[in-house]
């Protein structure tokens, strides 16, 4: 797809911070917005990730993967925090008779466990392979397929 954040493996000295920022910032925000469902939160997360990256720039051999991982971890933390809020709020009773597919997808994506949501986003938006998704999420490749299957199954049920 070519729109997902790249996974540069250059050494810190091979690519400048400015260059990495120009190349990655928007894509990282786009990905984070899909993971969080909020552009504002995505911007906060990515800005924080870049700040952390800059602080450690001289010590990093592979800043791209560090950035990817930091954004994902911050998104995971944020999702966890929001999950607590959502549980406290409880489910809103009732749904409209007719809902658009996009609304359902948004709703389901938001409620999916983070790993399922991340796997779906990385696969269907980022176009990553199972191995690449596993590397991004720091999990075994065998976990990715079931996560995506469960996520799709949930969506199908919701769309019925």
């Amino acid at each position: 797809m070519g729109i997902a954040p790249e996974d540069p493996t250059e050494a810190g000295t091979a690519v400048g911070f400015e260059e990495l920022f120009e190349r990655e910032a928007l894509a990282q925000v786009q990905r984070a917005s899909l993971l969080l469902g909020s552009v504002a939160e995505a911007n906060d997360v990515v800005q924080e990730a870049f700040a952390r990256l800059l602080e450690r720039w001289d010590d990093l051999d592979a800043p791209g993967p560090y950035l990817n991982r930091t954004v994902l971890n911050l998104c995971r933390d944020q999702a966890r925090h929001r999950g607590r809020q959502r549980r406290l709020l409880g489910r809103l009773a009732g749904r409209p008779d007719r809902v658009e597919t996009a609304e359902v997808l948004d709703d389901v994506l938001e409620r999916l466990p983070f790993n399922q949501r991340a796997a779906v986003v990385l696969r269907f938006w980022g176009g990553l392979t199972t191995a690449e998704i596993a590397a991004e999420l720091g999990c075994a490749p065998g976990s990715v397929g079931p996560w995506i299957s469960r996520a799709l199954s949930t969506m199908r049920k919701e769309l019925r």
Binding site: A25, A40, A42, V120, F124, W125, R156
Partner: protein, 281 residues
């Protein structure tokens, strides 16, 4: 590929396309730099420490006041006590490296920091804790509400020392933020601070005097809030450039202690240098 997967791919692409970048490289650089610790200057430092400690004891720690709309909705963070010489009690410093922080607050808060406060928590009124600004080296802090209204808590290691909140709409839309040429200021009955916003980038320092020539200097970085004694009726504000030249000066006659007119404080006047008295707003 199934229909669902097609729909999902299309949906994610559309959603991602709507996400825009709301910060820039300078913001990141600012965030990545350590927060400078605001320190009182020179020999006054010890006295400042004592004054601050005393202020803590009476829960009047925070140096910057937040002015909000409404006679009853004072919601003002406690400032220095009126008996303290302002120039010694509060070395109000806006941490330059935090200038990008306010932009990161959806609520539009402008955060000014000096000492003591270790954390500022900002959220909509009634829903604090949406966002933490960890300011481990900050000591005093203030939070200025702008467009959407929000609440702030200023937290030290010992706990919350002060809170402030603004009604939805904030002082600007409540009609309390008045343009005054090179700056605007927030006024209101019961307020204890002049909040200067919209400063020209050439302004390096804002000096504020309380009726007499006891100017206090604060760095002018977009927004400054300067506390003063509630009894003060005239405040003098001057903008200073980096070479020390006075760019402008204003005398603010603040009707803090005057009766309300139709539920509103009277409009203050500004004596512009070389001009007749002109109304603000």
């Amino acid at each position: 590929m199934s229909t669902l997967e097609d729909d999902l791919t299309t949906h994610l692409r559309e959603r991602a396309a709507r996400a825009e970048l709301r910060f820039d490289l300078p913001d990141v650089r600012l965030d990545a730099r350590p927060i400078p610790r605001a320190r009182p200057r020179g020999t006054a430092r010890a006295r400042v420490a004592g004054a601050v400690a005393a202020a803590v004891a009476v829960a009047a720690v925070v140096a910057v006041a937040v002015v909000v709309a409404g006679d009853d909705a004072t919601d003002v963070v406690a400032g220095p006590t009126a008996s303290e010489p302002l120039s010694d009690v509060v070395e109000l410093t806006i941490a330059p490296d935090q200038q990008s922080r306010p932009e990161r607050l959806d609520a539009g808060a402008a955060v000014l920091m000096a000492e003591r406060v270790g954390r500022i928590e900002v959220g909509p009124p009634g829903e604090l804790l949406l966002l933490d600004l960890n300011l481990p080296s900050a000591v005093d802090a203030g939070c200025v509400a702008t467009e959407t209204g929000h609440a702030c808590e200023f937290v030290t290691e010992e706990g919350v020392v002060s809170t402030a909140s603004s009604a939805a709409g904030g002082p600007a839309s409540a009609g309390r933020l008045r343009a005054g040429g090179p700056f605007a200021f927030v006024e209101g009955k019961g307020a204890t601070a002049v909040v200067v916003t919209g400063l020209d980038p050439t302004v390096a320092t804002v000096e504020v005097a309380m009726e007499v020539a006891t100017y206090r200097q604060v760095p002018a970085l977009g927004t400054v809030a300067v506390p003063f004694e509630p009894s003060v009726e005239r405040v003098i504000i001057r903008g200073i450039d980096r070479d020390g030249q006075v760019l402008w000066g204003e005398h603010l006659d603040i009707p803090w202690n005057l009766p309300l007119v139709d539920g509103e404080p009277p409009t203050p006047t500004i004596d512009r240098p070389g001009t007749d008295t002109a109304p603000t707003g």
